[in-house]
C-alpha cells in the first residue's frame, strides 16, 4: 500500500486509501475500517487468494488425470521349477509420486489423495471464492457508489461480515492443513457422516461452510436495505444500474436460502458427533433427505454466483459499446424471475434419487429457469446493434461471457430433459456444463468487471496489450479444458474418478493441457495487475465514458465517495443523450436524433 500512498499523497482530498503514516497505524486503520471500499478491497484480495488456492487444487486434479491409475499383477512362471513369482505394480499415481518427490512421506493411497484434491477444489471455489467473489468484493465497493450513497446501510455489520468470512476461511484452511477431507464439496450423507470417523477434519470443513453462510446472509441483508433506503435523490427503481438489480436479486436469495444450508449442516454435525439419526438409515434417518435440504440451498446459490456476473455484463456491454441497454426492464425483471424460480428447481440435481412424479415435476420447472436466462442473452446481443464497440479487456471478457455462458446454458437443456439426464447425470458432461456456467459465466464476468472497475478502485490503469494477451490465452485454455469434457461425459466417464478405462485418456490429456494454458493466462493477468499497482499510469476519473455514478467520483474515490450528495438527472445508459461526466463534448460526439426511451 505504501507505493499507492506516495502516488496519491498529492491528491487534494486524499483517496479512500490514503491513511495515517506508520505501518501499525495503517494496518489498524484497515482492520477496523467501516468504509465499504476498504472492506471490498480486502475481500478482493482474499477471494483472489482463494481463487489461487482452489486453482492449484484444480491443476493437481488435472495432473492426476493425465494418466489413469493402473494396478498390474504380473505372474511369471519359471518352466524348470514351476515356481510362480507374483508382483503387483501400481502406476499413474501422479500426485502421490509428486508428493514423495517433494519429500513428503505420504501414507494415503493415490485415489485418497485425488479425492482430497477435488474436494479441496470444490469447497474452496464454491464457499470461499465464487459465492463472495462478485457481491462481497466488487459489490461492496460499487453498490453504495452506484446508488450515490456514502456507504452501505450498516457499515459495522459489513465489517462483521468480513471478519466472519475470514473466520470461516480459517476453519476451511485449517481443515486442509490437518490433512484435508474427502467428502466432496456437497457433503452427501451417509458418506460424510461416516468417513474419517476418528478425526475432526470433516467437522471443521462443515463448520467453515456454516460460518461462511452467515457472512453471506449479513452481506445480503445489508445490500437489500441499502438499495431500499440509500438511493440518491432522483434515482427511482428503474433508474438503477442493472448491476444493482442483479445484486438486489442475489441478496434476496442469500437471505432466504442460506439459513437452510446452515440448518442442514448443523443437522449433519448432530448426526456425526452425537449420532442422532437424521440422514443415516442405520440410525433411522433418510439419506436422500440431506440431498433435498442441500440443494434447496445450493441450487438458488448457483444464481447467487451467476446473477452478479450478469449484472457486470449489462454494465460493461453498455459502457464499452456506448449504447443504451436493450430491454432494461426485461433484464431487471428476468433477474427477479430467476431469483424466484431458482427456489423451485432444486430437484434437478437428484433426478436419479427421487420418485418418478417428483422427477417429472422438477424437470418441467427446470425448463422455466432457462427462459429468463435466454431473454438476457438476446437483450445483450440486441444492445450491440448500431453501437460503437471498443475491443478492450473488459469488453473482450464480456463477449467471451456471451460465448461460454451460452454454451453453458444450452448444454443444460439435456440435463433438464429426464431421458438424457439419466445418462449424463454425475458424468463429465455435468462437470463440463457447470464449469461453462460457473467459470465461463461467473469467473469470466468477474474478470470483465475487475478490469472495468480496476482503474476506479486503485486509481491506476493496467497494461491493455498484456491483459488482452492473457484474455485470449484464457479463452483458448478454458475451452480446451472443458469442451473436451462434454465428450468424455457422453461416452461414459463418471465424475470424481481418479482413474478411468483407457479409451478416455486422450481427451483427459487434452483437458489437462488446456488447464495449464488457463493457468498461464491467469498468471499473466496477475503480472499485469501487480505491474499496474506499482507502475501503472494514473487513471482518469472516467476512463471508459460510463454514465453511472461511480464514474462521477475521482479515481480512486474519496473516503465519502462524493463531495456532495449526487442528484440523478439521467438514466444509467443514456449514452445517446448525455456526455459522460469528466468528458469534453468534443471527444464524445452524440447522435443527432437520440433514441426513444
Amino acid at each position: 500500500m505504501s507505493m499507492l500512498d506516495t502516488h496519491t499523497a498529492h491528491h487534494e482530498e486524499g483517496s479512500y486509501f490514503s491513511g495515517p503514516p506508520g505501518m501499525v497505524a495503517k494496518i489498524w486503520q484497515w482492520a477496523s475500517t467501516v468504509d465499504h471500499k476498504k472492506i471490498g478491497v480486502m475481500y478482493l484480495f482474499a477471494v483472489l487468494f482463494m481463487f489461487f488456492l482452489g486453482g492449484m487444487a484444480a491443476i493437481s486434479v488435472r495432473y492426476e488425470l493425465l494418466d489413469p491409475i493402473r494396478t498390474t499383477i504380473t505372474e511369471t512362471v519359471d518352466p524348470t521349477t514351476l515356481d510362480t513369482v507374483t508382483t503387483e505394480v501400481t502406476t499413474g499415481e501422479s500426485l502421490k509420486e509428486l508428493l514423495s518427490a517433494m519429500g513428503m512421506a505420504e501414507t494415503l493411497s493415490g485415489t485418497q489423495i485425488y479425492n482430497r484434491a477435488f474436494t479441496l477444489h470444490g469447497a474452496i471455489m464454491v464457499f470461499m471464492f465464487i459465492i463472495p467473489a462478485i457481491p462481497a468484493a466488487l459489490g461492496n465497493f460499487f453498490l453504495p457508489i452506484m446508488l450515490g450513497a456514502k456507504d452501505v446501510a450498516f457499515p459495522r455489520l459489513n465489517l462483521m461480515s468480513w471478519y466472519i468470512y475470514l473466520f470461516g476461511c480459517t476453519f476451511g484452511v485449517g481443515s486442509i492443513l490437518l490433512g484435508g477431507v474427502d467428502t466432496g464439496w456437497t457433503f452427501y450423507t451417509p458418506y460424510s457422516t461416516s468417513t474419517d470417523a476418528d478425526h475432526w477434519r470433516v467437522v471443521l470443513m462443515v463448520l467453515a461452510a456454516f460460518i461462511l453462510g452467515f457472512s453471506s446472509i449479513l452481506t445480503g441483508l445489508n445490500f437489500v436495505v441499502t438499495v431500499h433506503k440509500l438511493r440518491a435523490p432522483g434515482m427511482g427503481w428503474f433508474d438503477m444500474p442493472l448491476m444493482i438489480w442483479a445484486l438486489y436479486a442475489t441478496s434476496i436469495i442469500q437471505v432466504l436460502a442460506t439459513p437452510v444450508i446452515g440448518i442442514t449442516l448443523l443437522l449433519l454435525m448432530f448426526e456425526r458427533l452425537m449420532h442422532i439419526g437424521i440422514f443415516d438409515p442405520a440410525l433411522g434417518g433418510d439419506p436422500v433427505l440431506y440431498q433435498h435440504f442441500f440443494w434447496f440451498y445450493s441450487h438458488p446459490v448457483v444464481y447467487v454466483m451467476i446473477l452478479p456476473g450478469m449484472g457486470i455484463i449489462s454494465e460493461v456491454l453498455a459502457v464499452h459499446s456506448r449504447k443504451h441497454i436493450f430491454g432494461y426492464r426485461a433484464i431487471a425483471f428476468s433477474s427477479l424471475g430467476i431469483a424466484g424460480v431458482s427456489f423451485l428447481v432444486w430437484g434437478h440435481h437428484i433426478f436419479t434419487a427421487m420418485g418418478e412424479l417428483a422427477a417429472i415435476l422438477f424437470s418441467g420447472l427446470t425448463f422455466l429457469v432457462a427462459i429468463p436466462t435466454a431473454i438476457k442473452i438476446f437483450n445483450w446481443i440486441a444492445t450491440l446493434y448500431k453501437s460503437s464497440i471498443v475491443l478492450n479487456t473488459p469488453m473482450l471478457y464480456s463477449l467471451m461471457f456471451l460465448f461460454t455462458f451460452s454454451i453453458g446454458g444450452l448444454t443444460g437443456l439435456p440435463l433438464a430433459t429426464l431421458a438424457t439426464d439419466l445418462h449424463l447425470h454425475d458424468s463429465y458432461y455435468v462437470v463440463a456444463h457447470f464449469h461453462y456456467v460457473m467459470m465461463g459465466g461467473t469467473v469470466i464476468a468477474f474478470m470483465s468487471g475487475l478490469h472495468h472497475w480496476w482503474p476506479k478502485m486503485f486509481g491506476k490503469m493496467y497494461n491493455e496489450p498484456g491483459a488482452i494477451l492473457a484474455t485470449i490465452i484464457v479463452f483458448f485454455g478454458f475451452n480446451l479444458t472443458f469442451f473436451t469434457q462434454f465428450f468424455l461425459g457422453t461416452q461414459g466417464m463418471p465424475r470424481r474418478y481418479a482413474n478411468y478405462v483407457d479409451e478416455f485418456q486422450f481427451l483427459h490429456q487434452l483437458s489437462t493441457y488446456g488447464s495449464l494454458l488457463l493457468l498461464l493466462g491467469f498468471l499473466i493477468h496477475l503480472a499485469v495487475f501487480v505491474h499496474s499497482l506499482f507502475a501503472g499510469a494514473k487513471a482518469p476519473a472516467n476512463p471508459w465514458g460510463g454514465l453511472t455514478l461511480e464514474w462521477e467520483c475521482t479515481s480512486p474515490p474519496i473516503e465519502h465517495n462524493f463531495h456532495h450528495e449526487p442528484l440523478v438527472t439521467h438514466g444509467p445508459y443514456d449514452f445517446d443523450k448525455v456526455v459522460p461526466p469528466h468528458w469534453d463534448p468534443k471527444d464524445y460526439p452524440l447522435p443527432e436524433n437520440p433514441g426513444s426511451h
Binding site: 510362480t84 425448463f367 446493434y385 471498443v390 456471451l402 451460452s406 458424468s427
Partner: protein, 402 residues
Amino acid sequence: MMPTLASAQPDILQEIFFGDQPAPSEAAAWTDGLFLMITWFSIFSFAVVMALMVYFVIKYRRRPGVPAQPSPHHNLHIEILWTVIPSSSMLVMFIFGFQGYAAKVVSPDDALELKIRGAKWSWVATYPNGATSPEFQPLSYQSDVNEGTMTTTTSKGLDYPIFYVPENTDVKLRMMSTDVIHSFWIPEYRTKMDVVPNRYTGFNFRTPALTTNDTVNYTDENGVITQIVGRDMWAFCAEYCGDDHSRMAATIRIVPQEVYDQRMAAWGVKLSPIEAGRKTWNQVCKTCHQIDGTRLVGPTWNSVKNADGQFGFGYEAALADGSSVMRDANYYRESILDPNAKIVNGFAPAMVSYQGILSDEDIDNLIAFIQSLSDRDPNSGQDTGSSTETTESETEEAGSDS
C-alpha cells in the same frame, strides 16, 4: 414401440458423442436421438447468437468521432417473440424427455429381475435362482512367453465382476446399497439410478439380439481363455462413495439364452462352506482384506508374519489399545458385526458393520474360509506340513481367479 428420433441415419454427431457402437436398445437409441435433437437445436441457436455478435462487433466497431447510432431501447413484440420461441422448444424437449424416462423406469411385467447390491467398493448381482455371479475379469490381460528364458509372464489389471444376462430379454434391476449412496450406471444403456441404503431403486433395459460379430473372452476356472458369443459393457459407480469409487465397476455380459441357462444351473449348486466363504470374500471382502499377506485397508487373512505383525486364524492379534486377543471364531464374528470393537494395531477403524447384510450362514462360511487359510486350521490334520501345503494351494488358486 417407440419411434426413434433421428437415430436411423448415421450421424457425425452421434459418433462424436457416443462412439461407433450402435445403441443396444430402443430406449437407448431414443435417448441418443433426443440428445442429438437438443444438440442440433443448441448448435443452431448458438450459431445465430454468435454470428450476430461477431457481425455487430465488426460492423459497429468504434471509429473516432462517430457516435453510436440511435435505435429503440426496447421492443415488446421482439421480447415476446424470443420468450415464446425458447419456451415452446423447451416444452417439446420436456415431453420427449418424459417419454424416454418412462421407457427406462417402467418395466414389462415379465422382465428378468436382477438384484444389484452396492457396497464400498464392489457390486454383487443376485439372479432369480439365488445364485450370485462368481466370475470376474481383469481390466486388462496380457500373456507373453519369453522364448529365451522359457518363462511365461501374465500381466493383468484388477478384477471386476461379470454379470450375465440373456440376449433379447427385458432386464429389471432392483438395487440397494449396504453402506453409502452409490449409483449404477450402464453408459451403453444411457441410464443410471442411485443405489441408496434402506430403499430399493431400479431401472430396466432390453438386451439386444447378438450377432456373430459379438464375441467376448471367457476365462474358465483354470485360466484358459476362449472366445464365446456375447457382448460386454461396463457398469460404473457414478455417485461418489470414497477411496476406491473409481474402481467400483462391473461388466454386464449379454450371452445367448442357453449359455445363460447353463451358468444358472451351474451356479445354483450349493457350495461347500469353504467355497461359499471364498465366494463371499471375493464379492464383499477382498477390496479391503487380502489372503496372500498383502496389506490393504484391513489386515490380511492368511497366517503370515510380516512387518505389521502376526496374522491368521489361531494367532494372537496385537490391538491398537495395547492389549491382545486370540483370533478365534468369536473374534471374527465380532469383527464382522461390530468391526470397531477390536482394532488391530496399525490399522484404521475403517470398516462398517455387516449386521443385516451378511447372514449367519454367510458369516459361518466366511469363518470356515478364514480358518482354511491358516496353518492353525483346527479342521485340517495335526500334521503342520500338510496344512501348509493346503494354504499354498489355496493362495495359488485365489491368485488365479482373483
